[in-house]
Symmetry: C2
Subunit: 222 residues, 2 copies
Amino acid sequence: MSHAVVLLSGGLDSVTCLALAQSQGYTITALSFDYGQRHNAELNAARAIATHYGVKDHRVLRIDLGAMGGSALTDAALAVPESHSEGIPITYVPARNTVFLAFALGVAEVTGAEAIFIGVNAVDYSGYPDCRPAFIDAFQTLANLATKTGVEGVSVRIETPLIALPKSEIIHTGLALGVDYGLTVSCYQADTHGHACGRCDACRLRRDGFQVAGVTDPTRYQ
Amino acid sequence: MSHAVVLLSGGLDSVTCLALAQSQGYTITALSFDYGQRHNAELNAARAIATHYGVKDHRVLRIDLGAMGGSALTDAALAVPESHSEGIPITYVPARNTVFLAFALGVAEVTGAEAIFIGVNAVDYSGYPDCRPAFIDAFQTLANLATKTGVEGVSVRIETPLIALPKSEIIHTGLALGVDYGLTVSCYQADTHGHACGRCDACRLRRDGFQVAGVTDPTRYQ
């Protein structure tokens, strides 16, 4: 059996990645981060999803990303915006995907994984520099050089199956694999029960996705 | 004033980097990691060094690198070897420098740093894949793509002033800058007082360095 590390935030994209990886026959190590994010409901969703999918190895790593500051997602002094603006949004967490992929690379090496699945998306999140294909390509080059297995000629592949899909197609992909999106939380400021605000960028993208997909939105709102 | 992030482990190489960065006129954010390493004496050394150098912003980030396992430095089940062997040593921590540089990149973005100083060395640590110039070059490429500032055309430079120097020349460089190496701890299994074992690879490299440099070794042994 081939093994993969799946970055599992508890949101819509990451559960779709998990379902895709399982459908391709991989055994899974799911990796989540407790990084001082406001929307801790995400982590509860990640745990519920891992259980639902029978993932035996789900690692939740605590990291101090919040100590860096500079993002509305981790810094209580900054408000989560409720209207869309141009450019790189204040919800961007500095170097977040670089940090997440770096840990995934270490876990992949220790668990002997052939692939790392990350649900980055360059369509809806075009404002985030670390969601772009060029960033992923650069990380793949780094991964080939950074690890013991890479030096021995066996590199881990960075898999981004959602990178070019609009949200509605991600939803269709997941539904075809039987994903229950009612388990997921996308909202940047969900309450402790996982109920979404309905107003932030993440809520807006998710709601629009279900509308365009023409399927019922299972999101529970506050 | 230009600002730099300096990765400060508390060892001989990192304090030399700190002294070099200060001598070049940078104000400093020092960044250390509490990652479940056996040699926690390193962190105490890092704190003492930051104080000695008047570094006002010293961040110690707790991260779960130990939970990955697979290295004698973080996994209590694996013994630290006391004789030198060929190939990549068991003291190699999977993806460690990738993780450290990823955090440094985020901190650089938040603090507006122009440079990140890391004391990697390809001469003595040739067994570690993530100490090689090709790895650093790949991380520089990634950094240019990964961040908001990079997208805006202002990239952070990854500075590796020690990468091509043998240990003895690192020591001469530091001594010329007035470094007190008695503050530093290099041993992989130092005791709580920072006294070195004298037998591990790190001790051997350090002792050889002082011998070749022809200067007194201030290391306190157990």
